[in-house]
Amino acid sequence: MSKESRMKATVNQKLTEMGERERLKELLRAKLTECGWKDQMKAHCKEVIKEKGLEQITVEDLVVEVTPKGRALVPDSVKKELLHRIRTFLSQHGT
């Protein structure tokens, strides 16, 4: 395991243990709803469902169709804010 991946594993563990991961998740969810990302994504989902059929749609279908668009649509301001918090955490709990 490389140094970086060990690093990453350590950090992730710390994030989870300190509850910061959960807080970051909640923050992201709130920000995405606020900026309308969720509504956009829901509209996109409707299209996918109408295309594939209401009865036949699976979770896999949705994940494959929706996730790439979801990543692309996250606004820069939201990304910036989350990154800032992550960096702060890394600098505070680096060791």
């Binding site: 690093m7 409707k46 209401l54 929706v66």
Partner: protein, 185 residues
């Protein structure tokens, strides 16, 4: 199995930045997955398309924006020019004035009793002018130096209702005394 913790001071800034981006990426992925699960459940439980309305209903309830109508399409100044017949005096009254008119006509509102009281007072004054005046009433007037009328009742009266009390015996007496005193000077 405890993993060997690596100090981050050994990493340079670009690696730190990459790590932060990685973590962000994980979080975004998490959010997307969460959304997919939410949507999928809503579809299978049948409530995903619940808030959609068909085009026809949308047209039915559209906001109305015409003059003379409110947003529901109802006429709102319908009663402006209508007239009603008063059941008491059988006069034709405008609709917006009807309620106050009824109040006075039937003698039932807050103001109608005040108006009635006023009328009683001025009614008394009018009858005094015609017949012999009551001595007790006018004694009060004479106690105020030469002032007539207004001090009898504290209420303000409209100009046309001001009545000059009659020149009575007591006034004549004072006048005589006054003249007499001047004469003697």
């Amino acid at each position: 199995m405890k993993m060997e913790e690596v100090s981050m001071s050994s990493l340079d800034n670009s690696k730190l930045e990459a790590l932060a981006q990685d973590i962000l990426s994980d979080l975004v992925e998490d959010a997307c997955l969460g959304l997919c699960f939410e949507v999928h459940r809503a579809v299978k439980q049948g409530y995903f398309f619940l808030d959609d309305t068909d085009q026809e209903s949308m047209r039915d309830f559209e906001i109305v924006d015409q003059p003379g109508l409110d947003v529901f399409g109802q006429v709102y100044n319908q009663w402006k020019n209508k007239e009603c017949v008063c059941p008491n005096c059988s006069r034709s009254i405008a609709a917006s004035r009807f309620a106050p008119h009824l109040e006075k006509c039937l003698g039932m509102g807050r103001n109608s009793s005040r108006i009635a009281n006023r009328r009683i007072v001025t009614g008394n004054n009018n009858t005094n002018n015609k017949s012999e005046s009551d001595q007790e009433d006018n004694d009060d007037v004479n106690d105020n130096d030469w002032s007539y009328g207004a001090e009898k009742k504290a209420k303000k009266r409209k100009s046309e209702k001001v009545t000059i009390p009659p020149f009575n015996v007591q006034h004549v007496y004072y006048l005589v005394v006054f003249v007499h005193s001047n004469k003697s000077m």
